[in-house]
Symmetry: C2
Subunit: 306 residues, 2 copies
């Protein structure tokens, strides 16, 4: 990936190089930038954006608005397949948000799940083997130059932030990450109870829960819900939370899924990482020179913006 | 700081050591734990908890509830003093939340600030020199063993999460951090416009804005507010946001400030960091072995809980 240097170079850029080099050695995926973040996005050609496969989109519908997620079947094929089976049955329609723990997660599913009035899972599996991580081999990993608190190396696979060590690779709990709730038994999740990260990345959950995707749009509708006052942020009355419905993206009209994502294997994304790491915008008194994984999630825009 | 090993050791603990050593070398401030997080807090003696100085507490009152902040005058003496002057004048009463940007910040102040109807700052200063970082010397820094994306070393000073490199030390933008809004001019902040972090830590703001404290209680009342739909999450009508009032802690009744914070210079806090880094709770399939700064903020509890 080449970093295109667009803009005014000269004395200012030269001093930037010194600042940048003192804090983070240049790296193909995270070098100094001569563009602002806005300029990088403005210059990204149409081919550097992709529209997600509708069959890997999921809509969570709330009265406040919809959250649109992209699924990551390469990381959690069984949990994604089970979710699609549940969606085909419209399993979630009329269920509810049962938990909103501040600076942590919002969780939804069947308020009666632990009772004899639990909704039937139909043809979906009740138990699934955990998919906490997978082999890195075969994955098109784009590493970024970041010192990470929780993983040896971090980067992206087809739009998803990941951690890796040795041959292991896993989806990370950045803001908007979509996970499968489970009990103490690691194999007790089945995609009928789901959660989304609404606060600072709880990265200690990485490799402890099966993540299946991330929010592309509308995460704020979950993040702004009233917090639960029970233990772990559960609502005292589980049935009192916001009512939900969920649909597979293939059931959405085109204008309900009219978004595109900056391709993480494009040079524009490398420029984006560089521009977020080395801030040249006038406002920045300190150009930073570093970047954290969850602070550089792939930009998403409406198709009509292009 | 000694790590007290309380609980069942033996084969299980021995395997934990191996896991811990392979990912994070033991360190006085972040070693392996034989206690769960809950056990650490349960065993912390009363002397390891402190009640904050009321004069360094600030209440932000919203219809939804109050947010209680602790100020950090050692890091931003001028901005804290100016805020106290404004509080003495009850400057904020009747002003509003003007911006809620999802996964970023909530900001409050005078909706008319940029007009000729701006509220008068009275005896407070209109401009202040930036206090983005300070000398580390003289600060009782407790480092933790964490690879940080944005700072050479990280740790705590009297309850506040900090970053440091060379002789510089600064407050960090973890969840709940309280900052002073500014314009492009680094010296344009004056504590009349404030913000709190409501999402994943925007650590690129470190050393770019003056931070003056952190939320101890009630951050959820800001985090759950409706997001603004204007640029940067500003409300279209700045005057339409949630009404606010602010008081210095010395004006609060005792039961409005009945909380205590685990002392970050105590062995219990070291145990807490260790227990958060090396998870031995049954639920954890992977004991993690690592910790991020913003994932180990000092616990706060009601005095009546003790």
């Amino acid at each position: 990936m080449n970093i295109k240097l667009i803009g005014v170079l000269g004395a200012f850029a030269a001093s930037l190089v010194l600042i940048a080099c003192s804090v983070a050695p240049p790296n193909p995926a995270n070098s100094r930038s001569a563009m602002t973040v806005a300029e990088v996005l403005e210059h990204a050609p149409p081919s550097h954006w992709r529209q997600p496969d509708p069959n890997n989109l999921v809509e969570l519908k709330l009265a406040q608005g919809s959250v649109l997620f992209e699924l990551a079947p390469r990381f959690a094929p069984k949990h994604v397949a089970n979710l699609k089976q549940l969606l085909a049955q419209h399993y979630f329609d009329g269920l509810a948000v049962v938990r909103v723990q501040d600076n942590y997660v919002a969780q939804w599913g069947d308020p009666m799940a632990d009772s004899d009035q639990a909704r039937d899972l139909g043809s979906a599996n009740v138990e699934l083997p955990a998919e906490f991580y997978r082999s890195r081999s075969g994955l098109p990993v784009r590493l970024i130059n970041s010192q990470d608190a929780y993983a040896e190396r971090v980067g992206f696979v087809e739009g998803f932030p990941i951690g890796t060590d040795g041959d292991r690779a896993w989806l990370t709990h950045c803001y908007g990450a979509l996970g499968v709730a489970r009990d103490v038994d690691p194999d007790s999740g089945n995609s009928s109870g789901l959660y989304m990260v609404i606060g600072h990345a709880p990265r200690h959950l990485d490799r402890n829960v099966t993540l299946i995707g991330r929010a592309l749009r509308g995460a704020e509708h979950l993040a702004a819900l009233p917090r639960g006052t029970g233990i772990l942020g559960f609502y005292g009355d589980l049935s009192a939370g916001a009512r939900i419905a969920m649909r597979n993206g293939s059931e959405l009209a085109e204008d309900e899924r009219n978004l595109e994502i900056l391709r993480t294997d494009s040079s524009s994304f490398a420029n984006y990482v560089a521009a977020r790491a080395h801030r040249i915008e006038d406002w920045f008194a300190d150009s930073v020179g570093k970047i954290g994984l969850c602070n550089v999630l792939p930009p998403v825009r409406n198709v009509k913006d292009s």
